[in-house]
């Protein structure tokens, strides 16, 4: 390289270099800020407020509102349908016109007294009549494509043959469709309960029916998806739980008070998934209830209140569940409509629909609309905007009582192959896993790396140092995928097999090292004199290798001697530790291996930079080498060693491939070394390809990335501040 010699050139080059460096520095700051703001932009929509607005209001004949009503709408919100005591109506929401249909003959001249939906996303309904007949209906909107690619929507109505079940009117019913035998629970006059199994495809339908014991004051019935539990709400404010296992005589399993003031239960219904019960009362209280196993007998169930939602000020008269998430809408007699999310216990939307009584509600299948039909015959359509109902600060970081769980828990389980699955996006197990992996890796890496750095910089013969340091640094060049692969498929099974030998080594290696040091001390100088100071430790290599070999050879004997021949059983009995092949110890070893070069390299640099003159002065004053190292060199180099540890920490926090391959990715909250964990970074790597762009999971994964970013940034900033302080205190000046 030729150096420009003219002063003018030197000035130009100097200015140019200064400019490049400034641009580089600024670009780094700008790009870090850009990453931060990009992450923030992807995350903020999660916490935006939900909204609702009236999109249209149609006026239909008010006579439709005389009696029970069910309301439905297709997934594109083009056609709404109403089944009422007075008939059946399809309304085109784009034009506001009633769609002409042929009224099925079975519906004519019958007075419908109770209506029910089969649950889930099916379009099956059942109607009970004043004469004690049941009518099974399929109602909905079909959409097909014409040959030119145009979508055609048309109403679908199929009515099965009426099935006569009882004399007298049916006042409430609950319905579960099944091929070959749908199950129904009917509430009749004088609080009689009737259970029926009906084959809808057979001409006369009935399979069997039986009367259950009357429940006094019964107002509503609900049959859950497993067909094993029937709930009856009473006007005395109690829920009666009946067990219906395998057709055995119905047994009252329990009776539960909903509110202290015994408000009458006006409606019982289910959340999507048809397992969690929603209980609504005349006082406006809304709560959800779920079954949990009894502690005294796990084969029996007990009903347990899981969530309490915001109360209405008037009796609740209408209910509609969302089909995909655990949201639902409730309406009271004064015309107020609330949209709640059960799991987060949040009431997201509050609407006032005028003061008339609301007869029926429906949430559009995609959750983007709400329909309400009132006693004056108004059909109101609201646009809902609430894309992330399941994500709140509480559900991300707190314990959450999920549908079907026995208690509130921290859970990460983000997806499933079906739609009624509730995503469980608790970040605590992942944040915990990140810390756990980091702590185990640092526990292993810090002592080894720091001691190695002290040894090579202060004790080792300088000739060896020149080769040792690059060799250790080459370790950092190993791709972590390779390390992870080795950890998961080679080291984990090996460690499982040789665990007793490894315990043996932790005892044997320090013993032989101390013993040989003592031996060295007492050996006559004619044996030790020929070896250069600083290289005697090389003699330890064969000794340590022999100790390791001995332990491996004695694996079985160590297991027999220390653990009674079965170390897994011993761990389980003595400590309650369940040894898992993919565990924190394996990851700690391999991730420790990956961060040792980073910590070593920086620490060694810092230790070497302690001025030789100070060391010489210390030695000249009579301090031993050890005293010099501990009291002078280590303190002087402490800012550098501290940075080394912090950079190692940052590296371990963000490490992905090793944990992905070797930690088992189990999102558990347990510090135990013998089981695995799931880290934020590995979780992002595993789940981002499947996350629909812009969905809850996608944004929560970005939130995880933001957390990692903030964590690393905070740790680095604190490290820098501490380093500055230390430098001021122990500067080499």
């Amino acid at each position: 390289m030729t150096m420009p010699t003219k002063p003018r050139w030197r000035a130009v080059v100097d200015r140019f270099a200064g400019w490049i460096i400034t641009v580089g520095g600024l670009a780094t700051i700008v790009s870090i800020l850009a990453i931060f703001f990009f992450l923030l932009r992807e995350v903020t929509p999660l916490f935006s407020a939900p909204s609702a607005k009236l999109a249209q209001r149609l006026t239909l004949p008010a006579r439709l509102a005389d009696g029970p009503v069910v309301l439905g709408v297709d997934d594109r919100r083009t056609v709404a349908y109403l089944l009422t005591a007075g008939g059946l109506l399809f309304v085109d929401l784009r034009s506001g016109q009633v769609v002409p249909i042929d009224m099925p003959a079975e519906l004519k001249g019958r007075r419908l007294t109770a209506l029910a939906h089969s649950g889930g996303q099916a379009t099956r309904y059942v109607a009970g009549t004043a004469e004690g007949d049941l009518l099974f209906l399929k109602m909905g909107v079909s959409s097909t494509f014409a040959s030119n690619g145009q979508r055609i929507t048309s109403p679908v109505i199929k009515v099965g043959h009426p099935v006569h079940v009882v004399e007298g009117p049916i006042t409430d019913l609950s319905y579960r469709f099944a091929e070959g035998g749908s199950r129904l629970a009917l509430l009749l006059e004088r609080q009689q309960l009737l259970l029926a199994e009906i084959d809808e495809s057979a001409p006369q339908g009935m399979v069997r029916k039986r009367l259950a014991q009357p429940i006094s004051g019964a107002t509503s019935v609900a049959l859950d998806a497993t067909l094993e539990h029937l709930y009856v709400g009473t006007d005395g404010g109690r829920i009666i739980h009946l067990g219906l296992v395998n057709g055995e005589p119905d047994v009252i399993r329990g009776s539960y008070e909903v509110t202290p003031s015994s408000e009458a239960i006006t409606r019982l219904a289910f959340l999507s998934g048809d397992r969690s019960l929603v209980v609504m009362t005349s006082g406006g209280a809304v709560s959800t209830w779920g079954l949990v196993r009894r502690t005294d007998d796990p084969s029996l169930w007990r009903l347990q209140r899981t969530h309490e939602l915001e109360s209405h000020a008037a009796p609740i008269v209408a209910y509609a569940p969302s089909q995909r998430v655990k949201s639902f809408a409730t309406a009271d007699a004064s015309g107020r409509i609330f949209v709640h999310h059960a799991t987060s216990e949040k009431t997201e939307i509050r609407l006032s629909n005028g003061s008339s009584l609301i007869m029926a509600l429906a949430i559009a299948p995609k959750g983007d609309g709400l329909l309400a039909f009132d006693a004056l015959g108004h059909l109101s359509v609201y646009d809902l905007h609430n894309p992330y109902p399941e994500v709140t600060f509480q559900t991300l970081f707190g314990k959450v009582w999920y549908d079907g769980y026995e208690r509130p828990e921290h859970v990460w389980q983000s997806s499933a192959g079906s739609d009624d699955f509730e995503p469980k996006l608790g970040l605590m197990p992942l944040a915990f896993g990140t810390l756990k992996g980091t702590v185990y890796a640092l526990l292993l890496a810090i002592p080894i790396a720091i001691f190695a750095a002290i040894f090579t910089s202060q004790f080792m013969h300088p000739n060896y140092r020149a080769t040792i340091k690059p060799i250790i640094e080459v370790m950092a060049a190993l791709p972590t995928v390779v390390l992870g692969f080795l950890a998961g498929l080679w080291l984990a099974p090996l460690l499982e097999r040789l665990f007793p030998a490894m315990i043996g080594m932790t005892l044997a290696i320090p013993l032989v090292v101390v013993a040989s040091a003592l031996l060295w001390h007492f050996l006559p100088p004619r044996f030790t004199g020929g070896i250069a100071p600083g290289s005697e430790s090389l003699l330890l290599i064969p000794i340590i290798a022999a100790a390791i070999g001995g332990c491996l050879w004695a694996n079985q004997s160590i297991e027999a001697a220390l653990f009674g021949g079965d170390y897994k059983g011993w761990l389980l009995n003595a400590f309650g530790i369940q040894y898992d092949q993919r565990n924190a110890l394996v990851v700690g070893i391999v991730m420790g291996f990956a961060i040792i070069p980073v910590i070593y390299s920086i620490a060694e640099e810092a230790l070497t930079n302690v001025p030789r003159s100070q060391i010489a002065a210390s030695l000249a004053l009579g301090a031993t080498r050890w005293q010099t190292v501990v009291r002078l060199v280590f303190l002087s180099a402490s800012p550098g060693i501290f940075s080394a540890i912090m950079i190692g920490f940052g590296r371990a926090v963000g490490e992905t491939m090793i944990v992905l391959m070797a930690a088992g990715n189990t999102p558990i909250l347990d510090w135990n070394w013998a089981n695995g964990f799931r880290t934020l970074s590995a979780n992002i790597a595993v789940e981002i390809p499947e996350a629909p762009q812009g969905g809850s999971l996608y944004r929560v994964l970005f939130l995880a990335a933001l957390l990692l970013f903030v964590l690393t940034f905070a740790v680095n900033s604190i490290a820098e501040i501490v380093r500055q302080r230390l430098r001021e205190k122990y500067s080499h000046g």
Binding site: F145, S418, D420, Q581, N665, T666, P692
Partner: protein, 327 residues
Amino acid sequence: MSHCPRRLTIGLISLAMLLFTLRISTAADQPNIQGQPYQKTSGISGAINSIGSDTLNNLMTLWAEGFRRQYLNVKIQVEGKGSSTAPPALIGSTAQLGPMSRQMKSSEIDAFEAKFGYPPTAYPVAVDALAIFVNKDNPVQGLSLPQVDAMFSKSRRQGHPSDLTKWGQVGLAGEWANTPISLYGRNSASGTYGFFKEHALKNGDFKDQVKEQPGSASVVQGITEDRYAAGYSGIGYVTSGVKMVPLAAKSGQPFVEPSLENTKNGTYPLWRYLYIYVNQAPGKPLSPIVREFLKYVYSREGQADVVKDGYFPVDAPLIERQLAAIK
């Protein structure tokens, strides 16, 4: 943050694991392969991308190789990291074929419809039996679905009264009686994960202790190395290091081997179709290369590949129906 290199690395890992895994096909029952010999047409060239199921990954590769033997000018790229990666790829038009080991969820169909105005089209291309694998040394004779559910799930929706955590609780004696069951499963992007959750767990939740592996081969490899393991995966990934547990749908029923016959008569409880999803506009023909690929899949050669990979072929009436839909 770009995840493309990660995609590549995971692909490489799966590949490496494949090399480690000695594949044997289930030669026990040689099923009748349906379909007509493939008729080559002219003028087929270009490139197609396939992104989706890991279960179908090897099979897609076999089909791609066979198809390339017919048409030398065709380029096919196959990436398989999980069924849930197929819908985003079809929606983003980064792939023309979306192999999936489960049906699309309605939320995925919605997202597709929002972009194109019509739903995607599914072609069932093979039958898979989902097997419960244990280590080859494991003496277990069979398991009922409620037992499987109680091993893998914290919800126990199949109704098993107690949690199962040790091999002794499913009837094993001796050294097995007190050893904990070590659970392996797929990551949640996988259709196998979704299918298992829906049918074995009845939509309950997995235990947090299930070790999630990035590929089916990795599940089988983990079980091979872990003597006390149990895991689930498609039958095509069976190796000599693991064995498949016969299952019963309910407790008390006889245990049934996962075989073609038992999936056809429905006695084996965990079987499913494997699908290829395509973007087929209503009333419009498929692009020639995709059409010919699907025809190849339903040909005698294509269905022979299914058997070669350890899965079961689809039956003749279904092939006829699908071929009619392709035209």
